[in-house]
């Protein structure tokens, strides 16, 4: 029998490098050409001296100045970040139990619940907002329920305030948090929790000392995602927010599609982008540390 030819170590390394190159090339080329370059073009747009959509020229910082030096715009920015954080943490609070339970359910029972989580994402925002107007309206479901239960005697104004906007935003992006949590808890071996229970730890202690530390990557990833999605939202605040609740996303939309001052819109967009990048970077740095050490400590 002939001996099969054994490739040298060097050959194998070259082959491996080649393979790696082939694997990462598509994403790198695609993203560079269709994301990085257009963003660079947009950055250039934000420095144009002019207030027109296209065909600008020159270089000026005044659009950034207009945005960053004006108390009003800064307060809208602060409000947007506030909504982002609130939305992220509220959805963590109510999404974690759901994500956890989904991870621990047997596949059969999990399936329909998962569909219930994902399907709201397919509904057009226009009709979702209609639904919420019905629920939160003065003659709406919630008011009727509360009056029926005798909690209040006259309908309350539930719409057009921060809470209403937050509720709709949370509902809109909650599936992302649930799925992030679920995908990380699935990786935590249930044996660990059973072991803790055997050692007389109650739910809370098990959660705090076993589940939580291992779930941090998924939690951070979910928080980041929900924050970014909320901060960039513009249709929801446009449809359900009142005059008092403004978010940067709607301002950008206004500038782009109504006022047609694209350089200013681009400047606002880049400030928003820097913020979301910063948040992502912070989370990722923590995540990267966890990812490497998590892999090493992964129980199989």
């Amino acid at each position: 029998m002939q001996q099969p030819k054994v490739p040298s170590v060097r050959d194998r390394m070259v082959k491996r490098r080649l393979l790696l190159g082939l694997l990462v090339a598509p994403a790198i080329i695609f993203l560079f050409v269709f994301l990085v370059v257009p963003m660079a073009g947009l950055l250039r747009l934000s420095f144009f001296d002019g207030d027109q959509p296209l065909g600008g020229a020159g270089f000026t910082l005044r659009h950034y100045g207009k945005f960053l030096l004006d108390g009003y715009y800064l307060s809208v920015l602060a409000e947007t970040i506030g909504f982002g954080l609130a939305s992220a943490f509220v959805s963590l609070l109510i999404g974690f139990p759901v994500g956890y339970s989904l991870a621990r359910l047997p596949p059969g029972r999990r399936r329909w619940r998962l569909i219930a989580v994902v399907l709201p994402l397919t509904l057009s925002l226009v009709v979702v907002v209609f639904g919420w107007l019905v629920i939160l309206g003065r003659n709406g479901l919630l008011n009727s329920l509360m009056i029926g239960f005798g909690l209040i005697d006259r309908p309350n104004q539930l719409l057009f305030n921060r809470t209403a906007v937050l509720v709709v935003l949370v509902q809109q992006f909650l599936p992302f948090m649930i799925l992030s949590v679920m995908s990380v808890v699935v990786q935590i071996n249930p044996v660990l929790e059973q072991a803790a229970a055997n050692l007389r730890a109650n739910r809370f202690v098990t959660f705090r000392r076993v589940v939580l530390p291992l779930a941090i990557p998924g939690i951070l990833s979910g928080l980041t995602l929900v924050f970014i999605l909320t901060a960039s939202a513009f249709i929801t605040p446009r449809l359900i927010g009142g005059p008092r609740i403004q978010m940067v996303g709607s301002l950008i939309f206004q500038q782009v599609l109504t006022i047609l001052n694209w350089p200013f819109a681009a400047a606002m967009a880049f400030v928003l982008l820097v913020i979301t990048l910063a948040v992502t970077w912070i989370a990722n740095v923590v995540l990267a540390v966890r990812l490497d050490s998590g892999k090493a400590g992964h129980a199989n």
Binding site: P120, S124, L272, T276
Partner: protein, 266 residues
């Protein structure tokens, strides 16, 4: 005693929060679906009477049905491309140690960080410079861009969980690499592939902003059609169309599950 109280407390909290979450998620959808069966003229809840007239109107409506087909086609192709690029990328991220691995990972996730309006504007400018802004390709590029991060996220998470010993066993049995890939690796990440494609399909299908900027005559997507519809009209056909969308998505999920042969969405 105290530990029991905390235990009970958490159990109770969970039992209350979970159903509440499901209700909150599904309530607007439920309202819309119920409203779509109204026999009356206006979008109101509770609906007046019961009728399927608005479904008949929706199906008879050429713009909506064309848009539905447009959106479905676009979402399917975008998902396929995203899966291809995303699988290659997440495989690389998981199996290879190379300099800039973390940067690469961030790059693949970066479209998520860019606000959609910004993306739309930037792409419109860029694609029109490349003479691609009035083509299906241009719209497709935009949709692959926004679905890729979800695919990569889902797949990299699944790869971390992956049990390599199974692959090693196959290789010990003298199976060539491509065979290992086809018969061991891919089936094992099957659930994640399904999950990634569902995520991707839903994201592409529901996207309004990008499609507004990059659409062109003959290729209006459904969310845009709905969005522009309400600028000038307002009736229950919207509810009917949205419900049809939900059904279409359910159908696609069912088909994908059958194809992959998995019972689960992990």
């Amino acid at each position: 005693m105290r530990t029991d109280a905390i235990d009970m407390g958490m159990k109770l909290a969970g039992a209350i929060i979970r159903p509440l979450v499901y209700v909150t998620l599904c309530l607007p959808a439920a309202i819309v679906i119920v409203t779509s069966f109204t026999a009356g003229e206006s979008l109101r809840f509770p609906p007046e009477g019961f009728s399927i007239r608005w479904y008949q109107a929706a199906i008879a409506s050429e713009p909506f049905m064309n848009a539905l087909w447009s959106s479905t086609r676009l979402a399917l192709i975008a998902t396929a491309l995203s899966l291809a690029i995303g699988l290659a990328s997440s495989f690389a991220i998981d199996r290879f140690r190379f300099r800039g691995r973390e940067a690469f990972r961030t790059l693949t996730l970066s479209p998520l960080v860019v606000p959609m309006v910004v993306l739309g504007l930037g792409l419109l400018q860029f694609l029109s410079w490349m003479q691609l802004n009035q083509t299906f390709t241009g719209l497709l590029i935009g949709h692959v861009l926004i679905t890729l991060p979800y695919v990569v996220r889902t797949l990299t998470a699944s790869f971390v969980l992956f049990d390599r010993t199974l692959e090693q066993a196959a290789m010990n049995l003298r199976a060539p690499p491509w065979r290992v890939l086809w018969r061991v690796t891919l089936p094992l990440i099957g659930p994640a592939l399904v999950s990634a494609s569902v995520f991707s399909f839903v994201t592409s299908f529901g996207n309004i902003t990008l499609s507004v900027f990059l659409g062109f005559a003959g290729e209006t997507t459904l969310p845009v059609q709905i969005f522009t519809y309400v600028e000038h009209s307002y009736d229950p056909i919207l509810a009917a169309v949205s419900t049809i969308v939900v059904l279409v998505t359910l159908a696609v999920i069912a088909i994908v599950e059958k194809l992959v042969g998995m019972e689960t969405i992990a």
